[in-house]
Amino acid sequence: MKKVSTFKVVSWIFIIAFLLISVFPFFWILVTSFKPETEIFGDGAYRIIAQHPTLDAFKTVIFEKNILRAVWNSFVMSGFTTLYVIVVASMSAYIISRFKFKGKNLLMALILTVAMFPQMIIIGPVFNMYYSLGKLNSYWVCLAYSSITLPSAVWIMVAHFKQVPLALEEAAKIDGCSTWGTLWRIIFPIAAPGVFTTAIMTFISAWNEYLLSCTMNSNESIQTVPVRIGYLRGQYTIYWNQIAAAAVVVVIPTLVMVLLFQKQIVAGIANGAVKE
C-alpha cells in the first residue's frame, strides 16, 4: 500500500507543478496589464498587485494600436479557411474512404509529405504568385493556408468517414440519391462529430498561422493577431504593460474556444496519434 501512496504524492506534486508553470505566464501578463507605465520599470516590475491599477494599457492597445482589428482579421481569415477546408476535405475524404482508384496510396503519401515538409519551401514562390496577381495584403492569402491545414484535415476526415456504415449509403442509393447527395445528406451528418473536430483543429491552426501572414499581409489594416502582436514591440522602449494587455485581449478568444470545445480538441489531437 505504501508504494501506491508514494506514487500518488509524487503524481500530485508533478501535476501541481505542471499546472502552476502552465498558468504562470498568463497570470503574470494579467498582472502586468493593469500596471501603469511607471510601474513596469524599476521596483514596481516585480510587484504582483499594482499600486495604482489602471486600464490605460487596455485603452491604448484597443483604441490606438487597433488590436481588435487584428482579432477581426484573424476571425475572417480562419473562418474562411475552415469553410473551404471542410468542403474540400469532405469531398476528397469521401472518395478516398469509399472508392478504389489508381494512385490512391500515392495521393495519401503526397498529402502526408505536404503535411511534413518545412513551410519555408513554399513561401518564396507563393509570395511571388500573390505579388504578380496583386493580391498581397488581402484576405485571399487565406487560400495559401491550405498548405498547412488541408492535409491533416483530409487525413482526419478519412478516418471518420470510414466509420460510417456502408448500409446507410446503399439505402440512399436505392432511393435514388446521387453521390453528391449521399455525401452531404447521409455521410456528412452522421460523421458530424468528426467533421466538427476537424473544423476546430483547422480553425486553431489557421488562427495561429504566422509565416504566411507575416510575409504577405504586413499592412496594419490586414494583420492577424500573431503578426500584430509582434509589431507592438517598439523600436526603443518596450511598453510591456501594453504588450501584456494585448496578449490578454488576444488570448481570450482562444480561451473561450478551449473551454467550449475541449472535448473536440482532445479528440482531434488523439486522432493524430491513434490509428484504427
Binding site: K3, M116, A144
Partner: protein, 407 residues
C-alpha cells in the same frame, strides 16, 4: 466493399488536387528551379531567370543617342577634315542604333550578334579616343562623359544568371548554414526529448483517472492552443533582461549569472527558446501519448500486477511496447515540427544574439526577404528538405514508424 471510381467521382477530389497543386507542388518545383539561378530580386540583372545572355536594346539605343549628341557638341571644336571623320562615326552609330529604335527592355541575343555589337562598341571607343588624343590642348565639352556612356553600354549585355549546381557547392562551404543546422538540431533534439519525457510522465498520471484530471486537461490545452507568436511575445517579457520575472528568478537562484544573460548570450537564448517550446508543447505531447495509452487493454496491467511486476517493469515490458506505434508517429510529427521552428525564435530572439539561435528557417527567411536573395535562400531550404527527408526516413525505416497505417 470498395468500388471503382468514375470520372464524376474524380471531380470530388479535383479541388484537393488543385489546392495541393497550386499551393504545394507548384511552389516546391518553382523553389527547386530558383536554386539553379542567381535569382536576386533587388538586382536588375538577376531579377528573373535568364538561361541565355540577353541584350537591353532600349538602353543601348539611348546610349547611342547620347554619344551622337555629345559628338555634335565636340566636333565644332576641331578641324573640318576631322569633322568629316566624326560625322562618319555618327552615321555608323545611327545605322547600328536604328535597329533598336522600338526595343523594350531586354531580349534574347544570339552570340554572333553579341560579338558584332561588342566589336562595334570597341571600335567606337578606339576611334573616339584617337580623335580626342589628336587635340590634347582643346577643352572638349564631353571628353569625360563619352567614356562613361561607353562603360554603361557594357551593362546592355545581361549575362545569363543560370548557375547550375554552383549554389549547392556554396552551401557546403557556407559555415553559417552548418551553424544554423547545428542550432536547429540542438533545439529539436533537446526540446523534443524533454517534451517526450515530461509528456510521458504526464500522460501516465492522467491515465490513472484521478480526480481533477478534467481540469488538468483543460489547463494543458491553453498553452498549446494560443498562437506561438503570442506565447513567444509573453516569454520575451518574462525573459526580459531588466524587468523579466523569469530572468529575475533564474538570476536569484543562481542559474544565470546576470539577469540579462537569458536573451543576450547564445546559450541563454537557446535555453530560453527551448523552455518556451517545452512549456507550449509538452501538454500536446501528453495528450497524444494519453490517446495511445487509453487503447491499451487494462486487463494486461492486472495480469502483470498478479505476476508481481513492479511499475517500472510494467512500464518497460507492457506500456512502452504497446504505445510504441502512436509514440513514434507523435515523435516524428513533433520532430519535424520543431525542426522547421520559425515564429518562436523569430519573435523571441530574432535569431540572435550574434546569430546564436539562428535556425535554418530563420536563415532562409533572412536571405529571402531581408537580402532578396531568393536563389540562395531556396538552396538553404533544399538543404533543410534533405534533412527532413533523412529524419522521416530514420523514423519510418529504422524505427519502424507506421505513418501510412490507415489501410
Amino acid at each position: 466493399m470498395v468500388k471503382k471510381m468514375t470520372f464524376k467521382q474524380f471531380l470530388f477530389i479535383l479541388p484537393l488536387l488543385i489546392f495541393i497543386g497550386v499551393f504545394s507542388i507548384y511552389p516546391i518545383v518553382t523553389s527547386f528551379m530558383y536554386t539553379f539561378f542567381d535569382y536576386r530580386i533587388n538586382d536588375q540583372t538577376a531579377n528573373s531567370f535568364y538561361l541565355s545572355e540577353r541584350f537591353n536594346g532600349e538602353l543601348f539605343y539611348e546610349d547611342c543617342d547620347y554619344i551622337n549628341y555629345f559628338l555634335d557638341d565636340d566636333k565644332t571644336l576641331i578641324s573640318e577634315e576631322d569633322q568629316k571623320a566624326v560625322e562618319e562615326i555618327q552615321a555608323t552609330v545611327s545605322s547600328v542604333m536604328s535597329e533598336y529604335e522600338n526595343a523594350k527592355g531586354t531580349e534574347k541575343i544570339s552570340s554572333d550578334k553579341k560579338d558584332e555589337l561588342v566589336a562595334f562598341k570597341e571600335k567606337l571607343r578606339t576611334d573616339i579616343t584617337a580623335l580626342y588624343d589628336k587635340y590634347p590642348d582643346v577643352e572638349f565639352y564631353n571628353k569625360d562623359k563619352i567614356p562613361e556612356i561607353l562603360d554603361e553600354m557594357d551593362t546592355c549585355i545581361v549575362k545569363s544568371n543560370f548557375i547550375g549546381l554552383k549554389a549547392y557547392g556554396n552551401l557546403i562551404k557556407d559555415t553559417r548554414f552548418w551553424k544554423a543546422l547545428g542550432h536547429t538540431l540542438i533545439f529539436t533534439v533537446i526540446s523534443v526529448g524533454i517534451e517526450l519525457v515530461l509528456g510521458m510522465l504526464l500522460a501516465l498520471i492522467m491515465n490513472k483517472a484521478m480526480k481533477g484530471i478534467g481540469l488538468v486537461r483543460t489547463v494543458a490545452l491553453i498553452p498549446w492552443a494560443i498562437p506561438t507568436a503570442v506565447s513567444a511575445m509573453i516569454w520575451s517579457y518574462l525573459y526580459d533582461g531588466s524587468y523579466g520575472i523569469v530572468s529575475f528568478l533564474f538570476n536569484k537562484l543562481g542559474i544565470i549569472n546576470s539577469q540579462s544573460a537569458m536573451l543576450l548570450t547564445s546559450h541563454g537564448a537557446m535555453s530560453a527558446a527551448i523552455i518556451a517550446d517545452v512549456w507550449k508543447t509538452t501538454p500536446y505531447m501528453a495528450l497524444l501519448l494519453l490517446a495511445g495509452l487509453q487503447v491499451i487493454d487494462r486487463g494486461l496491467y492486472e495480469s502483470s500486477a498478479i505476476d508481481g511486476a513492479g511499475p517500472v517493469v510494467t512500464f518497460f515490458k507492457i506500456t512502452l511496447p504497446l504505445v510504441k506505434p502512436s509514440l513514434l508517429v507523435a515523435l516524428l510529427f513533433r520532430t519535424l515540427d520543431a525542426f522547421r521552428v520559425y515564429d518562436l525564435i523569430a519573435i523571441l530572439t530574432g535569431g540572435g544574439p550574434g546569430n546564436g539561435t539562428e535556425s535554418l528557417s530563420i536563415y532562409a527567411y533572412k536571405l529571402m526577404f531581408d537580402q532578396s536573395n531568393y536563389g540562395y535562400s531556396s538552396v538553404v531550404v533544399m538543404g533543410m528538405f534533405v534533412v527532413v527527408a533523412i529524419i522521416a526516413f530514420l523514423y519510418v525505416k529504422v524505427l519502424g514508424a507506421d505513418v501510412m497505417g490507415n489501410d
